[in-house]
Amino acid sequence: MARSFLQAVASEEVTPPLRVIQMEGLAVLKIIKHCKEFSPSLVTGQLLGLDVGSVLEVTNCFPFPIREDDEEIEADGANYQLEMMRCLREVNVDNNTVGWYQSTLMGLYQTVELIETFMNYQENIRRCVCIIYDPSKSNQGVLALKALKLSDSFMELYRNNEFNGEKLREKKLTWVDIFEEIPIKVSNSALISAFMTELEPDSPVEQCDFDRLQLSTSSFMERNLEFMIECMEDLSAEQNKFHYYYRNVSRQQAQQQTWLQKRRTENMARKAAGEELLPEEDPSSPIFKPIPEPSRLDSYLINNQIANYCNQINGVAGQNFSRLYLMKALHEN
């Protein structure tokens, strides 16, 4: 534990903080293609690129086959990964892993699995990023790409498994601080740029314009709300866990108090009688056993999810306002 902490401190000193993710258009398109073809099932893949100072370049990527829990297949997956990296190196693609991408449904990505995967990657490579793509949002003409990393203070807590109230207070870590979003830049080679400029259709309207001006978003909103209600239920279950814990703790404290009172009066009597005093603590008694505090990680993640749904609702509602007023203006004309 101490070593990993030291490592964390040491690596922090040498590397400048990660500011920007610079993605090649190729990687963007490949991610979109993969995620969309398999939507609504969720897929992942590996990002390849270079780590240049405070910029992490993502120049290529390759998809993973859909994972199955069989162990044999898992070994197969590892082979596949090595094979792919070897092949790509042969055609001069940067074969340096910089993270992974995954698709998501309705922006739901804040899970324990993501954190675990991130920690795994982080152990092997210094700089790691996770790109999230939401195929359901792209139907509304939004390029829903997000680059995420876990914040350093969160990783430290997670490594040491210290998700109790005291530590969180000490670090001043709130649920907002778990994930850090990193801005994405998109770059293209001059060759691509030339080709695309040539091939761009003359029509002034693009598909994404149609998608953006679509008036019916109620199904998206409904699903958002449904998911949010589910999250709320989870959250209240978590809250109940805490209530239960606090009640138990306060009951235990009351028991300790009465026990202490009894012991003291007993000791007083013993003192009067000139006998040896009994200790004021009894570690063997069950009432002195500390009750384990439930981890706050789950409730933090649920909080994050709810916040995410709120943001989506706000965003879409904002767009709806613009669309409606546009409609009104058109109608009046």
Partner: protein, 285 residues
């Protein structure tokens, strides 16, 4: 393709209805491979993956480069590499099969025929895609060919590359937005509202154009075109006819629904931050 019993030159190819459709990721990958080609290599070649629909449309959906060398008149392809890579791609998406091969450069050469022969053994009727990365004749020419055997009796005379139509409608690229794909550097991805703004501006510009055109026709400056007129009237009639009162009602209802949603989500967020404060601030005595 041509059976040995045919005695006439098969001028009319059996593949008359052949067309190809290319996805943007293919083009991007080919360009990337070309940029990353090994020293002194003149061109890069690779395998095209995709599917063939029953009506003869070839969808080119994916691609990977295959190392090769062309000393003199010979061609050496890394066949192992090709097969390994194909097996890997099959694991991810078994629906994508080999449909042909690509090469950079303009047009086809004698050596292309050799490579084409190799791919003919992998799949019947492979498509050959050429991407002119050198802009030899000043424009981005991307062409697709299929090969047709010219035979006389049972003698093979030659193989001819015949160009087939190529469809460039890149809906996938449109969804991302050409603005992002055609510039060499985009500093920031547009967010929801910025994209909306851009779309609205474009719509406004279009409406302006239509206004100008109609005014021009009315004043006699622009020659009227019946087709344009029909298109405009179609567009106008697609707006549902509603009395102002009904429209107002629908409009206000929608606005109120959305406001309720925004209110709900803000309430939730406030609730979250209060709960957060209470949870972490709660000290055990």
């Amino acid at each position: 393709m041509a059976s040995s019993k045919q005695t006439v030159l098969p001028f009319l190819p059996s593949s008359a209805g052949f067309t190809a459709r290319i996805h943007p990721v293919v083009l991007f990958n080919i360009c990337d491979c070309y940029v990353r080609r090994p020293d002194q290599a003149e061109r890069v070649i690779g395998t095209l993956l995709g599917s063939v629909s029953p009506d003869g449309t070839v969808e080119i959906r994916n691609t990977y480069a295959v190392p090769h060398s062309e000393p003199g008149d010979q061609v050496a392809i890394d066949v192992d590499y090709h097969h390994n890579m194909y097996a890997s791609h099959q694991k991810v998406n078994p629906k994508e099969v080999i449909v042909g091969w690509f090469s950079t450069g303009l047009g086809v050469s004698g050596r292309s025929a050799l490579i084409h022969e190799f791919y003919s053994r992998e799949v019947t009727n492979p498509v050959h895609l050429t991407v002119d990365t050198g802009f030899t004749d000043g424009e981005a020419s991307i062409k697709a060919y299929i090969s047709i055997n010219l035979s006389l009796g049972d003698r093979q005379l030659a193989a001819q590359f015949q160009e087939i139509p190529l469809d460039f409608r890149m809906v996938e690229a449109e969804q991302v937005g050409f603005d992002i794909l055609k510039t060499t550097m985009v500093d920031k991805l547009p967010n929801d509202l910025e994209g909306m703004e851009a779309s609205m501006e474009r719509l406004l510009a279009l409406i302006d154009d239509v206004y100008k055109y109609v005014d021009g026709v009315v004043e006699g400056n622009v020659a009227p075109d019946n087709n344009n007129g029909r298109l405009i009237s179609d567009a106008l009639s697609s707006i549902p006819k509603m009395s102002p009162a009904v429209f107002d009602k629908v409009f206000n209802d929608k606005i109120q629904d959305n406001l309720a949603l925004v209110y709900l989500s803000s309430l939730t967020r406030t609730q979250l931050s209060i709960a957060e404060k209470l949870n972490t601030a709660a000290q055990i005595l």
